[in-house]
Amino acid sequence: MYTQALSTERPAPASAVEDPALLARFQARIDAEERIEPMDWMPKAYRQTLIRQISQHAHSEIIGMQPEGNWLTRAPSLKRKLQLLAKIQDEGGHGLYLYSAAETLGVSREELVGQLLSGKAKYSSIFNYPTLSWADIGAIGWLVDGAAIMNQIPLCRCSYGPYARAMILICKEESFHQRQGYEIMMTLAKGTPKQKAMAQDALNRWWWPSVMMFGPSDKDSVHSDQAMRWKIKRFTNDALRQKFVDATVPQAHYLGLTIPDPDLTYDEASKHWITGPIDWDEFWRVVKGEGPCNKQRLETRRKVHDDGAWVREAAEAFAAKRRKAKRAAAA
């Protein structure tokens, strides 16, 4: 997921800054469905787009640990406690894996993390919403991981090899998370009246932010065309969003829950569920920093970073001492 095209500056066209022959050969490789590997020649804009997208994705995995972590010490059974701890751990692993993929493009993890902590880098806005009840843990798995899968499955065929390979592994785990989340919702929906109300309330609060996870509508999206030509993106935001809505609405019905959209209708002709208007003002407001938890998420991340500084310094100092001792012994 987590790859909503958020930058609003339009990059210079690649044809203006790159050697046309190299560019043509590069495009031919992409068109032939070849994978681009780290040592291969690539246009600067391709590299920049991937760095931005992969690092945004990595940051989202890391920030995404917070809303779920909010319920970790309150998970209501031993099974759920183990599941949630393992899930959040998976997300941390995704972050690690994605930072490594970004590093193959010539940036360091430190630099990328610095961009996150300074507020310069974006991450998926969905994580700027709070988790207010246990049902939110089910809703996040079902909807947020579910939307992530829709977005990421095409990325398993992304033209950049390291990203594509990372996505294959990550998608497997996300679909596991999605099933687990749905199972939590199922348990609640079939539970006590209070539990069912909890599940409905979570759906009410997570539905629209999940629908918005696919990013702005195609007519307002800046990067789509070039990213499509480079096969960094295979489907438009709106196409992916439609896939998600079509898959999810029947799942909500099966749970006996109501999608919080009075305009939602099934279109017999196209076989699609058509949603009511999406509140893009809310989307842009949260992207630009004015969501319920934007400040809190960054503050927490900064505090964790600061609190751990002495440990990282100690590990470096220790490693340096050991290297020195080794050299002295060898001399």
């Binding site: 701890l85 959040i88 941390g92 609190d307 310094e313 220790f318």
Partner: protein, 254 residues
């Protein structure tokens, strides 16, 4: 469940299960908060191992008790004074050095304990022990590496690591106590003699602490009582948070 041996057996299982669960819970509090991403993942791993050790022991205890309680009832509906974990595992995480000192002290003990329990005549305990011993070998290595790194790192980490060891030390004595329940379980071939493990534990700790250029804390007054339901102030808060949903929704399934 009526014979005195069965009552002792049940308490014995709860002591083991509670100790693993509470330390696993403490480690889960580090999730998303560790000094590095790699360490975040490692601490979750250890936490998962520990909660994973507790779960079959609770299930076994629930069957043995035969009162219709489930593993979750035992974990989520007992009060602090019914919890029988060692006090060392309920101690707050404080900083990373305190957490690592606690981990090294407990895991070094637990590796020896589970190794002894592999021979338990209770096949469920023996089964958990075989798996847990291997897990603890990794937990010991991981925490020992950090204690050494922090002890021999910077002046700040050295001071914090020493403070961590000093902080945890008064809770280590309880690990080696043997009471009537232990004696009954040793006699039945179910339990192990913790007092016999002290010399090996002390030696193992001494080795790591020396390599870390730290000072071995002295054995002063030791806090005790966890295995009888007498705890530090911290367990009540931990359980209040952990148990909030099952207690707020009696009878609900999750």
């Amino acid at each position: 469940m009526s014979s005195p041996d069965q009552a002792a057996h049940l308490k014995y299982l709860l002591r083991l299960a509670d100790t693993s669960l509470i330390l696993g819970h403490r480690l889960s509090e580090w999730s998303g908060r560790a000094p590095t991403l790699e360490e975040d993942i490692a601490l979750s791993n250890i936490g998962l191992d520990l909660i994973g050790q507790a779960r079959p022991l609770y299930a076994h205890a629930a069957r043995l008790e035969g009162q219709g309680r489930s593993e979750d009832d035992l974990a989520f509906l007992r009060d602090p004074e019914e919890y029988l974990n060692l006090q060392i595992v309920e101690r707050p995480n404080k900083d990373f050095a305190v957490t690592m000192a606690r981990q090294l002290a407990y895991s070094t003990f637990a590796e020896l304990a589970w190794s002894a329990l592999k021979a338990s005549r209770d096949p469920e305990i023996a089964g958990v022990a075989a798996k847990a011993e291997k897990e603890c070998t990794y937990h010991v290595r991981h925490s020992a590496e950090w204690v050494i790194r922090l002890g021999d790192g910077t002046a700040e980490s050295h001071a914090r690591m020493q403070a961590g060891l000093d902080d945890v030390w008064m809770y280590t004595g309880e690990m080696f106590e043997v009471d009537d329940i232990d004696r009954a379980m040793i006699a039945a071939g179910i339990g192990f003699d913790a007092s016999a493990l002290k010399p090996r534990w002390t030696e193992a700790m001494r080795e790591v602490i020396a390599e870390a250029t730290l000072k071995m804390p002295g054995d002063g007054w030791m806090s005790t009582g966890g295995r009888r339901g007498v705890h530090t102030e911290h367990l009540g808060h931990l359980l209040a948070q952990m148990q909030v949903l099952p207690r707020a929704h009696p009878g609900a399934a999750w």
